[in-house]
Amino acid sequence: MTKRCTILFGVEILLIILLVIVNIHTGSTDVSLSEALSIIVSGGKGDVTSTIILDIRLPRIIAAFVLGGALALSGYLLQSFFHNPIAGPFVLGISSGAKLVVALLMVAAVEYGMVLSSVSMIVAALFGSLMATVFVILVAKKVHNMSILIVCGVMIGYICSAVTELVVSFASDSNIVNLHTWSLGSFSSVSWSQVYTFVPVVLIGLVAAILLSKGIEAFLYGEQYAFSLGMNVRLFRVLLIGVSSLLSATVTAFAGPISFVGIAVPHIIRSTFHTAKPLVMIVASFLGGGAFCLFCDLLARYLFAPTELSISTITAIFGAPIVISLMMKRKRG
């Protein structure tokens, strides 16, 4: 690992610590830093401030960090799969696919009075994202033009969103409000029980990605070359897509579709770290995605407080220009 990478890793970690502190500190109720610390250390006294810190802000911070990291990592894996830096779960319509299936499940649950477990949400989201992914891969086999692929992805996104909206407007319960916030993307209303579910899932994804890093490096030079090195290319492709889908599905299940993090973060990491080494990219993208989402969530909560913006509003403002610049920079397709 180069000196540059070591320094930048340090910067990332410092940034995360700083953002966590600011996130705990700021919000509709101001809690001083020392007070917040003492609440966390002591375990709280059961008052309102303790509840805000322990049951609202802390799980939300963890969600923003872990799910943000998962999203960036998922984007990096997709980019490796498609050999293209503009691939990401949101632009390829994968997040929207997950959103649709989750929304269907939620409405059905409300209709029939079922209670949804976090695990069933993940399974539904995974199902939806895999469906969208398979579709995108089929299209990619036919057209070798990334721009067309992205237009297809965006269209899938629109179709899924339209169907979601349709389902939502025919749903009959007050839970719709929740569903609406969720479908725009938000880290609010994350509970500890959800944290206990998604943290292990994302960690499994992270470890799997790290284990795939050797293969990703060979795969960077093309499938034929990877094959000639003795790699089981078919299995590798399945694993890569599986892990990527698992990660983006988990994010969608708990925070809804969040745009552009998957493209923007790996791009920022690549161009600051000046490396293409998969192991470095995986870890740095994960940390970077966490930091990025902590920052964006902070803005979403703080900018027009007490009104909260959807997280996608913020990530799109930072992310979309990066996608556009990447598309313009590419010489072909």
């Binding site: 490096e217 034929q224 094959f227 090195l229 003795g230 490396t275």
Partner: protein, 809 residues
């Protein structure tokens, strides 16, 4: 010692064998090369041998084990592969690129051990890439990249190395460096190499064994390089005209190994240019003469045609040639292939059948900066001008092949140039003018046009802009289209000869001949003549094959005009809808320009309308383009005939001959007359059912004028088959056919004109209509005789290395 070999291997895609019965063996320390034309399947073989593709049949063995039974990691340790096509990298040093090759040796996380680092350093040192170590792979030159990739293949410590065109994109310096590196490491590391390569000079140097794949998917020949590589064999394998290989590569450099008897023939031929005797062996080459002009329309085509006729009269077998034509008007040969019409005209003058080899490259403009490229009669594709400029040098083998074919049947080949040889912006890669002359070593006659003025400046200026060696090829100057007293010109000619140091071999008078000349495009369209009988052809924006109507110009009473405005339709006795390159867009133009309304009105009055090819399609009710041949969509036609046309990607091309089946209306007497011609169109036209009686009398809505009642005599309004094989239909005074050249037979034209004259109550001085073919023959003789009179034919024969003293022939 490890060996890779195949047994009865068939390779291909989707279980379809592309190449069968491949038996090759690569031993450690040996280099085997695959050679063959592009697309022969060399890469497919390499991919199959390296396991990326499943063999269609047979098997591959390494060290006696079948490839499919060898574990992936074992395979990777035995064999490394370097294919063409690279992924772009970002922020990756060359060292990192090479290190990926250690994949089979590293653990789960791919961490490099000290041994790995040592192997990487060693591999990089071996190919001389040590100093590239920390450079970004994306930012080094192609040659350096190739070095790094070779190191990456080596770091796998393979016993067998497979390389797909490793030198293709390198400049000559890097090519040599790469080959030397490869030879060194084969020796030092005892690696066996299987590679594909296009550069035969390099193959000869590097390989022990060659395997030649021909483009029929066969292993054509294999063996030691020194035995396989003989000039004649290579020329056959790559379809190069005899001698073509040397001509491009130079005799010493290219001659791989020459067969003895070829050597003798060649020497014989070289002497020939200085002696009067004709060599008597089949390898003899024809004599060439090239006609170039100082500008377009200087009269090259006619001068070349005249020369063809003169040589023919003198008893030589002569053929015309022009490497590349740019024209909308094409001709279909008996084999159904497309070629330019100028060479057809010259072939007629030479008294030979037109052959596509006389014009191997035909460009048909599709819009302002793109053309359809047709090579040896077959459509290769559409190209932009810039794209073609790059591409055209690849066509040199096709040109030489065509010349070779013509040589089989000819003593003299008269080559026509294109435009001016002094277009200094286009001179590079030239294959039509001086580039062509150089390819076949032809003497050049330069034709200037005095009619447009400035003939001395044209000739001297052109000479001035030529390179010295090109200028040396110009053996004579011709002043064309001269009118008046030649003595006035003489002092100028003297000075011209003095300054240019090239003799003026002829001053040709202005001749008015009834011969097809595609260059007279603009003149033709602008002519607005008035005659006793007025025939109007609609000047469609994409008009094509307008030479169909040349025949009318020889009838004194007839005035032929090309019209674009509805008003010009007045006083027209016969309206012709010509062929078009783009039916749908021209149909649109008809509607927008108001011509549609005018045509419908004209037809409604019972006037005759004839549609040829595209014009015939437009007379129908609908033209649809479901496959996007002309950009898609569909459009309503004129609705004059109950027809529907669907444009298809397949092009119909054939020569036809037949009898007019049935005819109605004014020209009913056409029935049973014979016609000849050809079809060339994309799309097929079918009759649509008309409700009721099969009558086409119908009301057509036209913009602006409301509706027009189209009426016909009740007996003639039925739709009848007009030309054979459903290629045309007629109804009343409306006639449509796909046949180009429909008017070439004199009976058809005579009947046509006579009927119009009768209707108008005019009497014609009839016998003047002569068979068009016969007329053309007379014109060619007139041309040849005039040229003989005004040109120094003795000098011209001398230029070609012929001493013509056989007037008795």
């Amino acid at each position: 010692m490890l060996e890779l070999h195949t047994s009865e291997l068939s390779v291909g895609y989707n279980k379809k064998p592309l190449i069968s019965d491949i038996c090759l063996a690569v031993k450690q320390g040996g280099i085997v090369a695959l050679v063959g034309p592009n697309g022969a399947g060399k890469s497919t073989i390499l991919k199959t041998v390296s396991g990326m593709l499943e063999p269609v049949d047979g098997a591959i063995y390494i060290d006696g084990q079948e490839l499919r039974n060898i574990s992936k990691s074992q395979r990777a340790k035995w064999m490394s592969v370097m294919m063409t096509g690279r992924r772009d990298t970002e922020y990756t040093t060359c060292y990192e690129v090479v290190s990926v090759g250690r994949y089979p040796f590293t653990g789960l996380m791919g961490t490099l051990s000290d041994a790995d680092h040592k192997a990487i350093e060693e591999a990089m040192a071996l190919v001389g890439a040590t100093e590239l170590r920390d450079l970004d792979f994306d930012k080094i030159s192609d040659g350096q990249k190739q070095r790094v990739l070779l190191a990456r293949a080596l770091v796998q410590e393979p016993k067998i190395l497979i390389l797909d065109e490793p030198t293709s994109f390198l400049d000559i310096g890097y090519k040599i460096e790469f080959i030397e590196n490869l030879k060194k490491l084969v020796k030092e590391k005892q690696i066996g190499v299987l590679l594909s390569m296009h550069e035969l000079e390099l193959v000869r140097n590097v390989a022990d064994q060659v395997i030649c794949i021909n483009d029929h998917g066969e292993v054509d020949c294999m063996g030691p390089v020194s035995e396989v590589f003989q000039t004649a064999y290579i020329e056959r394998l790559f379809h190069i005209a005899p001698g073509g290989f040397e001509r491009i590569y130079g005799r010493e450099n290219a001659a791989l190994k020459r067969e003895e008897n070829t050597e003798v023939n060649r020497d014989y031929r070289d002497e020939d240019s200085d002696s009067t005797s004709k060599p008597v062996n089949s390898q003899r080459r024809a004599h060439f003469l090239m006609v170039q002009g100082t500008m377009s329309s200087a009269g090259k085509s006619l001068v070349a045609a005249g020369l063809c006729r003169i040589f023919k009269q003198d008893g030589y077998r002569v053929v015309p040639f022009k490497s590349q034509n740019m024209a909308l008007n094409s001709y279909i040969t008996e084999d159904g292939l497309e070629m330019g019409r100028a060479q057809v005209m010259q072939a007629e003058a030479a008294g030979v059948k037109p052959s596509v080899y006389m014009n191997p490259i035909l460009l048909k403009p599709t819009d302002d900066c793109g053309s359809q490229v047709i090579v040896n009669g077959k459509v290769v594709g559409n190209m932009r001008a810039r794209e073609y400029f790059q591409y055209k040098t690849k066509l040199i083998p096709d040109i030489l092949h065509a010349v070779e074919k013509l040589e089989e049947e000819a003593d003299i080949i008269v080559i026509e140039g294109a435009g001016s040889p002094a277009e200094i912006n286009l001179k590079q890669n030239d294959i039509v003018n001086m580039g062509m002359a150089k390819l076949v070593d032809a003497p050049v006659l330069l034709v200037g046009d005095i009619d447009r003025g400035g003939v001395f400046a044209q000739l001297l200026g052109t000479l001035e802009l030529l390179e010295p060696e090109e200028r040396d090829r110009v053996k004579g100057l011709i002043i064309n289209k001269f009118r008046g007293d030649k003595t006035i010109l003489d002092p100028g000619i003297e000075m011209l000869e003095e300054r240019g140091d090239i003799p003026v071999t002829g001053v040709l008078p202005y001749m008015n001949l009834h011969l097809e000349d595609e260059d007279s495009l603009t003149e033709r369209f602008e002519r607005k003549a008035k005659g006793v009988i007025q025939i109007s052809v609609i000047r469609l924006p994409h008009i094509s094959n307008f030479t169909d109507f040349d025949v009318f110009e020889q009838i004194p009473e007839v005035a032929l005009q090309y019209i674009q405005r509805p008003k010009e339709l007045e006083d027209t006795d016969l309206l012709i809808l010509p062929g078009t390159k783009n039916t749908i867009s021209d149909m649109k133009w008809l509607k927008e320009s108001g011509m549609e309304t005018a045509i419908l009105k004209y037809a409604a009055k019972g006037n005759p309308v004839i549609g040829i090819c595209g014009g015939y399609q437009m007379m129908g009710q609908k033209i649809a383009d479901p496959n996007g041949v002309e950009g898609g969509g569909e459009i309503a036609g004129l609705g004059l005939l109950p027809l529907e046309t669907i444009l298809e990607e397949r092009k119909h091309r054939r020569q036809v001959q037949g009898k007019i089946q049935d005819a109605t209306g004014q020209f009913a007497e056409w029935k049973d007359l014979e016609y000849t011609g050809y079809e060339i169109h994309m799309g097929s036209t079918r009759l649509v059912e008309v409700p009721g009686t099969g009558s086409v009398g119908s009301t057509v809505e036209t913009p602006g004028t409301g509706s027009i009642e189209i009426t016909h005599d009740s007996d003639s309004s039925a739709i009848v088959e007009f030309t054979e094989g459903q290629t045309g239909y007629a109804s009343g005074n409306l006639y449509g056919t796909y046949i180009h050249g429909f008017f070439d037979r004199s009976e058809i034209v005579e009947t046509l004109i006579q009927k119009i004259a009768d209707a108008k109550g005019i009497s014609l001085a009839m016998n003047q209509v002569m068979d068009y073919q016969e007329l053309k023959e007379q014109e060619y003789d007139l041309l040849a005789n005039t040229m003989r009179e005004f040109m120094d034919m003795k000098k011209i024969y001398e230029m070609m290395g012929l001493h013509h003293d056989r007037n008795e022939v």
